[in-house]
Symmetry: C2
């Protein structure tokens, strides 16, 4: 008997009809003889409604109180799904985060899971019942305060439960039917990926974020818990996120990702001496700014330029942070370019195949797309280009690596 | 420093504006230097909305799941009120039933409170903060399951907390400004009662039910915890429900109550032998029927009639229950009259003054109102009359005992 953890998001349980639909799916999976834990989010719109109330009532709602407020939506969904299952003759019991022993730290609104005691889950499964769990929430053991896990918290709940119970798989049901080779809105010939490695999925954050939270994928990788992403509205297949499989290496590129939400910061004419970069990025980090790509170039003798990218909404803070510093060390200045985007190709095949980056640069050059920054990792090549050219670049890269074809058809032989 | 428990009902916290209004009241009470625990119900309509969902999803929702579902509304109100208070600069913390240690038995949807550990409440008060508590809910200590306290559960929560913390008073805020000498819709000259004894309030269930749950009054009486019922929408005075005060005895009648929801059941021509009544009422009790007034008369030699009243919606069940029995013991039959009502006068003054009942009967007789049944207690006289005459009877009795006048003006000297 397999043990499966299923997670249904807010849109999947967004109405009475949709809860009935989910109950049917759960019942079907249960009839196959699987042990089932079902984690649910709040009905879509519910949490927003509560947050709106809070914002109308206070400009600075205390986070402890917000957690008590926001944790109620998931409890409602869990109870309603359990009620529906029982009504269909499928024995089920609903549980809060506290009841399943979801112990977190005391950081409200973005608590981290410490452990899951899970006794009640095991007992419920042992009685042949389905356990329906309110996602997104836990409890601080020391104070007994309710905590929430932050964005995508229900995914995190599901993954943590799957690991704690040593489940065979964690299925994440959502409103899209999986992970695509790129955004189908940009490249209509994008295809759903059947299986992708944890590492690739992590590099695809910008594509995957809509489908799967980075935190869940990291968790999956750490504990080798396969994640199956699937639509709760259709009966088709989804995407399996899993440890790296041998055949994955035969494909040069698995997906093309992009990120429009980037700005390029440039510090020009810095004195070229040891420790300058360290000073810059310490300062930036202290202010909680998330740096992505970094490039350093020596421009003329004794001077250097540093460029890096940050999320667009952190541009102002970055400039404000660096301005005094720039004056102090006698640099020319700090400038920001918000009209940029990042385009990336991702694939574990890059590790064993050469020439992938060159092929991408050539394709972009042939299309007269100027590359402003380059950064590479073992399984990724990212280029910063003008924001006006991002759609075109995505389509070109998608076609260059034949991503519209099934992986088997574009598999190549290894040549190290 | 006084310690006060305040309870605000669903309509009092029914919108963002109303929550702000409640917060202002709480802040004002706090500024007087009082220690404050504030118990809240779910925003009006919230619980109904959830129950409706459940009923759409199942014809027989399990009670354990219903409790998890229904307990969420109070948590939302508590968090929102606490957020509002903090936003106003008034330190507050919100708590669930479990967090304050509200331990109940395991009877879902109508759990009884076993004890309140209350450590967190004491600590919070000790820190000079207001404790805002989600009413209506507790936790079954053995299983950790969420329980709810049934109808009027938030009142019960408030009273139990007041007793556990040895508070000075429990204030129940609602949408009416107190308890009246009778229903103002029937007698427009009805007046708000300033102070009434627990016993009188219990006898007034039919009037008081809209304002105060019987269970809370019983609790108040048992632990001598004064209850102040007050409107959360106006600034006027309310009604104090308290232990019996000396001056209360000087008033013959405190209020006139009525109950239209009664049916009269008659068993006629029963053999007049010992144990017959016991058999009848054992049978009725076994079927969960709530009997109110009972009258037994001997009609002719060797035979007797028994009449009693039950809630109208239990008429059919009563007839069904007694029909076979009536045949067995050779009675003439069992009949029901649903066109009746009960009118009552209530007052602790009756204990020390004679002639009150006679005065009431005379007043009704003078108005040609026929009395079908009479039942009396130490502080109450109830008459069953035709349902068509109930409004007139209420007005007549209200006027007969001068209830439109302030109690002092109608006080009489004791003559035993």
């Amino acid at each position: 008997m397999a043990l499966i953890v299923q997670k249904y998001g807010g849109t999947s349980v967004g109405s009475v009809e949709r809860i009935q639909n989910v109950a049917k799916r759960v019942a079907r999976a249960s009839k196959k003889g699987n042990g089932l834990v079902v984690v649910v989010s709040a009905m879509s719109g519910e949490t927003d409604r509560l947050v709106e109330y809070a914002n109308e009532l206070s400009t600075e709602p205390p986070e402890r109180e917000m957690d008590l407020l926001m944790s109620s939506g998931e409890r409602v969904s869990a109870a309603l799904l359990s009620i529906t299952l029982n009504g269909m003759g499928v024995p089920a019991e609903s549980f809060t985060g506290r009841q399943i022993g979801m112990i977190t730290d005391a950081v409200h609104m973005k608590a981290r899971i410490r452990k899951i005691t899970g006794e009640r889950l095991r007992r419920t499964l042992g009685e042949g019942k389905i356990a329906v769990v309110a996602g997104f929430q836990g409890v601080d053991e020391k104070t007994g305060n309710v905590t929430t896990l932050g964005r995508g918290g229900s995914d995190t709940s599901a993954m943590a439960i799957a690991v704690a119970l040593k489940a065979d798989m964690c299925e994440i049901y959502t409103d899209v039917d999986g992970v695509y080779t790129t955004d189908p809105n940009i490249a209509p010939n994008a295809r759903r990926i059947d299986a992708i490695s944890f590492d690739e999925m992590l590099e695809m954050a910008s594509l995957g974020a809509k489908v799967l939270q980075t935190r869940s994928v990291e968790f999956g990788k750490k504990y080798n818990m396969p994640i199956y992403v699937k639509s709760s509205f259709t009966d088709g297949e989804g995407t399996l996120v899993t440890e790296e499989l041998k055949e994955m290496e035969d494909v040069l590129v698995s997906a093309v990702a992009y990120d429009r939400n980037q700005a390029k910061i440039t510090l020009s004419h810095l004195p070229d001496k040891p420790g300058i970069a360290a000073q810059v990025f310490s300062l930036v980090a202290e202010n909680g700014i998330n740096v992505d790509m970094i490039i350093q170039n020596t421009s003329e003798k004794g001077f250097t330029n540093i460029s890096f990218t940050v999320p667009k909404n952190e541009t102002k803070l970055t400039i404000k942070t660096l301005k005094p510093f720039v004056g102090d060390i006698g640099a020319k200045g700090v400038t920001a370019d918000e009209k940029i985007s990042k385009v990336s190709i991702i694939g574990v095949g890059m590790r064993s195949h050469t020439g992938v980056a060159a092929k991408a640069f050539t394709a972009l050059a042939d299309a007269s797309i100027n590359i402003k920054m380059i950064s590479t990792s073992e399984i990724k090549v990212s280029c910063v280009i003008s924001v006006d050219e991002v759609d075109r670049a995505v389509r070109i890269l998608h076609d260059t690596f034949n991503l519209a074809l099934p992986p088997k058809k574009r598999a190549v032989k290894k040549k190290k």
